[in-house]
């Protein structure tokens, strides 16, 4: 918390950061994803276009089953779209790549590797030498307050610790783009808030582009520079809402401010139209 507040007193101007950065932008054009199993076809995403500039923190909210995870896995390259394109820095993606790092809701840690082994994995695959690997991993382990747990296996960790290891593992190999699928959904409130503040620090310090999926409106508004609201199934982009908050104030003041409440209400209203049966589209 203290660390976050310290940063908030000297916020880098987010907008200008975007312009100085050249890479890590995502362009999604007319994306459509149809799942086919047997002769059953489910359209999960249709007519979806959005551009995420370098260094932006984009929150994505939408009703359950609207295709948020599908969208994220398409961008990650795990799934293949039916039509449309996804481009990173102008180049259409071709499968998963180290320019994008996913943080899974259920952590997806390698259970046979220790905390250190998990965090160094991406560096091993990059061919980084042992010494440097350990030093880099240690930096992220410390950043996540996991020092002392380097030699523990995932089964020995709590849910919150696992999620921090997952975050450290993804950050360690330095992808430009972070793709996060409800990463804090399973955690209790205090832990979630502390990890949210951690994430804001990391996003600022390491200048990542972040696409953050959540079903929690408050979380989306608190973290994001812009929130994308999806329609209910089949998912398309309904609208995006820019979040313009005075982030120099500490969390407890920010969440009580009028701007925060008003923005949260806007997003909530918009989302509610999608979740209420018979609501307008």
């Amino acid at each position: 918390m203290n660390r976050t507040q310290a940063h908030r007193q000297h916020p880098p101007n987010a907008k200008s950061t975007h312009e100085t950065m050249v890479d890590g932008h995502v362009t999604i054009t007319e994306l459509e994803k149809v799942y086919e199993s047997g002769d059953e076809r489910t359209t999960a995403i249709e007519d979806f276009s959005v551009t995420v500039p370098s260094g932006e923190f984009l929150g994505v909210v939408g009703p359950s089953g609207c295709g948020k995870s599908t969208l994220l896995y398409l961008v990650a390259g795990f799934l293949e779209q039916t039509t449309g394109t996804i481009a990173v820095d102008g180049d259409p993606i071709d499968g998963p790549g180290t320019d994008r790092g996913v943080v899974f809701q259920d952590y997806a840690l390698f259970p046979w590797r220790t905390v250190m082994g998990n965090v160094t994995y991406g560096l091993e695959e990059k061919g980084v030498g042992k010494e440097e690997r350990r030093a880099t991993a240690q930096r992220f382990i410390d950043m996540m307050d996991l020092d002392g747990f380097e030699d523990k296996y995932p089964k020995e960790l709590s849910g919150g610790m696992k999620q921090r290891v997952a975050l450290a593992r993804t950050l360690a190999y330095d992808p430009k783009i972070l793709l996060m699928d409800e990463p804090f959904g399973a955690l209790d409130q205090p832990l979630r808030e502390s990890l949210q503040d951690h994430l804001i620090d990391i996003w600022r310090d390491l200048e990542k582009t972040v696409i953050f999926i959540t079903h929690d409106v408050e979380e989306a508004v608190y973290l994001s520079e812009r929130v994308l609201i999806m329609t209910r199934h089949p998912g398309t982009k309904k609208t995006t809402v820019g979040i313009d908050l005075d982030r120099t104030q500490p969390r407890e003041e920010l969440v009580l401010s009028d701007e925060y409440t008003a923005t949260k209400n806007d997003v909530w209203q918009s989302l509610r139209e999608e979740t209420t049966p018979g609501g307008e589209r």
Partner: protein, 259 residues
């Protein structure tokens, strides 16, 4: 302080171990009692003490070790062969469509075949030496190893595979880096299931075809009306089986400390 604690623990462990075999001791005592009082003819069930005496004699003159070693060697060679083939086939059948298409039906049909039925066939083809025994052990053990490796591989969490791919693991390295480690608990379970099959096949083949080994020693006892030798061989195979099972469990614990 640490020393006292360790000693204390050891003693508790010893007591616990003794308690856990009470029932076994009771049965053995019952055996001795029934035989001593001639409730069963001593040809069918010689007293435990006689059996142990025979066991000691056979061990002292080296006979028992020689036969036990033959059985052990055949069972292990066959099991090892089955592991090499079964793990490769099982893992690939789960990960590769063509390998799966070819092997899945074969595994389904082969798994329930009582492999003992093939003893005469193997004798017919390959004779009575070490080769047919080792090969039949391998055939018998292949199915449980392959089927468990395949199922464990199928159940590997797709998110783990995706995690590795996003961190730059190539398709070719994926098996070694992620799939096999993630499936290891299931793969090792398959090997544990195969172990008694290896012993059964070896033992039966030795009884039928001879050529030394504990199975041969036992059937010899029957043919020469030496019932103590029959039971002594039985005890020997039990010891071999128990030791191997414990060995595998230990190995499992070492390899899978993370589970």
């Amino acid at each position: 302080m640490d020393v006292t604690r360790t000693v204390g623990l050891d003693r508790n462990d010893a007591i616990a171990a003794a308690k856990s075999i009470y029932s076994l001791v009771l049965l053995l005592l019952l055996w001795e009692f029934v035989a001593q009082y001639d409730m069963v003819h001593s040809y069918f069930l010689p007293p435990l003490s006689d059996v142990l005496a025979t066991f000691y004699e056979l061990t002292a003159d080296g006979t028992m070790l020689e036969h036990a070693y033959l059985t052990f060697r055949r069972a292990m060679a066959g099991l090892l062969l089955a592991c090499l083939l079964g793990i490769v086939v099982g893992v690939l059948a789960a990960r590769n469509r063509i390998v799966g298409w070819f092997w899945d039906p074969i595994i389904e049909v082969g798994y329930p075949v009582p492999v003992i039925a093939l003893v005469p066939v193997f004798m017919f083809w390959f004779g009575t030496g070490d080769l047919p025994k080792i090969m039949l052990v391998a055939v018998g053990c292949f199915w449980p190893v392959a089927i468990n490796a395949r199922n464990a591989t199928r159940e590997v969490d797709e998110n783990l595979v995706w995690s590795a791919r996003m961190m730059g693991t190539s398709d070719r390295r994926l098996l070694r880096r992620v799939v096999v480690p993630a499936a290891a608990p299931g793969i090792i379970s398959g090997v544990q299931i195969a172990l008694p099959i290896a012993l059964i096949v070896t033992f039966v083949f030795e009884m039928v075809a001879g050529g030394g080994g504990l199975g041969h020693l036992e059937i010899q006892g029957v043919r020469s009306f030496e019932s103590a030798q029959v039971y002594a061989s039985l005890i020997a195979i039990m010891i071999v089986g128990f030791t191997l099972d414990r060995g595998l469990r230990y190995l499992r614990g070492r390899l899978l400390a993370w589970t």
